[in-house]
Symmetry: none
Subunit: 421 residues, 2 copies
Amino acid sequence: MQPNTRIKKWMREHQDEAITLLQQMVQCDSTQGNEKKVQQIVADKLSAMGFDIEVWEIGGNDLLNHPYFYSPRHSFQGSPNVAGRLKGKGNGKSILLNGHVDVVPEGDLKQWSYPPYSGHIIDGRLYGRGATDMKGGNVSLLYALEALHALQIHLKGDVVFHSVVEEESGGAGTLAAILKGYTADAAIIPEPSHMKIFPIQQGSKWFRLHIKGRAAHGGTRYHGVSAIEKSTMVLSHIVALEEERNKRITEPLFQHIPIPVPINIGKIQGGDWPSSVADLVIMEGRLGVMPGETVEQAEEELENWMAGLAEKDEWFQEHPVEVEWFGARWLPGSIDSHHPLLDLLKAQYEEVLKKPPKVEAAPWGTDGGLLSQAANIPVIVFGPGTTELAHYPNESIDIEHVIEAAEIMAGTLVKWCEVAD
Amino acid sequence: MQPNTRIKKWMREHQDEAITLLQQMVQCDSTQGNEKKVQQIVADKLSAMGFDIEVWEIGGNDLLNHPYFYSPRHSFQGSPNVAGRLKGKGNGKSILLNGHVDVVPEGDLKQWSYPPYSGHIIDGRLYGRGATDMKGGNVSLLYALEALHALQIHLKGDVVFHSVVEEESGGAGTLAAILKGYTADAAIIPEPSHMKIFPIQQGSKWFRLHIKGRAAHGGTRYHGVSAIEKSTMVLSHIVALEEERNKRITEPLFQHIPIPVPINIGKIQGGDWPSSVADLVIMEGRLGVMPGETVEQAEEELENWMAGLAEKDEWFQEHPVEVEWFGARWLPGSIDSHHPLLDLLKAQYEEVLKKPPKVEAAPWGTDGGLLSQAANIPVIVFGPGTTELAHYPNESIDIEHVIEAAEIMAGTLVKWCEVAD
């Protein structure tokens, strides 16, 4: 039997094990600072399959002083990283498999139909915080490796595994793993792409705008300048910048996306009294960073653009909008459109699912940007979860997709790393 | 010597005492819930002048169930009301003097040149939150009474004093004082009219708009509907209503006012994550109520107008903007244009300042509306502060105006309540 045929057969016979593993992982609350328990499960799995692993709490000057280090945390206690390497037999290309175990907070519990760490299974879907983002993807990776291990399919190239913390707040876990030397010739990250293949991921950076007004009593509002009114002008100015930036995009993978690299204003707050004219509005948003530009270039363009408000309204000449950069940043990531790993993954997809894959540009950033930019590793995002369910109450994943993705991954590893005699 | 001559002389000799009193009152932070300290100063002053006073935390069923009761608060702890009566010798008309001690929050501290509760005096102006709105006016009243007391000028009619809380959020303090029987034949409120006489005051009502969107990830913002974007449409729709309403005003007292009865949006808040599409924006504002219309009529017009958004954008057909009425409402207030108190006040103004007074419609509501409508007391607004500075950073008052207003008040009391033999 061909390796792929054996893999398929083995996977279908053992799929309950994969489901149980996913259930166990989802049942671990692995919000920031609480990743230890789930990491132990991953570490045990990797060890059992012959990986040389390291489990460590990230930190140290190399990491903290790295130009790509971003984190709201000062200490990473309670958040161990896991990385490991399965040595190949030699003369093969290596692969890096990267997944994060940190999950975003569960939000309003009243909006959940089941407790968020229950791992309930209903109608083929497994429910819980992190099911789709991205423990389902992690299980696809582990199940692919499990199949190769069980079937004693030995590869020529090394398999490197990152089970990282801190993806949701800036990527310090992946950066720490890179700095420890856990790198490879190419990488796959099974973030929730809904089984689409994303060879390009946009980066992003958060910003805060301070829009000034002049206070007055609401009954004589004509004596004041409303920061709320001015903020509508700022908003349309930002939409114009978004248009301007997106016009420049020629990459065909973006062509079916209405706004390839959006600028999103997600939060607004201003004024402190209904009958006063607001003298300050704060808007917070996310600037999409285009593949091919640096975060710094994107930042500079937004800052210059905001200065241009002074030409539209003289209020802004003396009261310029202040731009503040804060919080997380995700670097854009990519793989060459003719890269052999991309071709292999597409072919495996078609072999397993009997239809061509959808290949698109990712609407969000992942730790793949760090792999591309800090370690020069080409990276593809491909995973079984669904973006639309990530970060929401009642997050869930289609179990069938987890198994399908595992089968596609295993076949890809066999082709990319090659089977040793 | 005539009473007015003695009053003028006494006031000029003792004006440092009035300035010190104002300074002390401004140095008390009397934002909502913190009015106790400043009220103690007023209560002590009134007691020393022979007033029978009451100091009490407002509340009780009579107040809370009154149709004119409006407040965002459930408890008034920390906010005592002060009211008192100086019995006249009999057979005279009584006067009610009303001022509030609550002040609006200080806003953005960076916009203040001095700390907001400093009471600094520079070039004849006293600076601080509440200086103009309306502790300066309160001091004019107290200084007028102080002069009569010091000069042993006894009046025939009673002088009733309200030093109230909650004016900035609905008038519960004045209503509580009325319900305790502190009423009179006519009233003067020294709100910041900039030495103009306001026989008419517009009312107002607070509202909250709930503007809905649909959440999505910021990187795929085109899958969502931004409540922040929709709120800009709501804002311009409200400006159109303001225009529509103001076109209807014919009252000549409004003719020099740029927007006679404004609608102000003072507060905005929406979204909870920079890289999510906001699914809800809350805007809070103040609807000006025209003299001659009821608050209910104005409310109905705004509600119907907001329903009209559905014609401008079909999103609003299924997601109508919810209008909520909350917090404060100020009733429009007025005095008959031929009322004898109005004539007396105008004459005193001319006698003291040697020029005719400016008589206009007030650009805002005061507790005068409650006096007019809940207690049927004709009311005039006349005070030394400046509307343009109320609720602003660097709020201040011209000290000379405080003394001039006190002199005009004292003379008016002498004429209205009449001097006893």
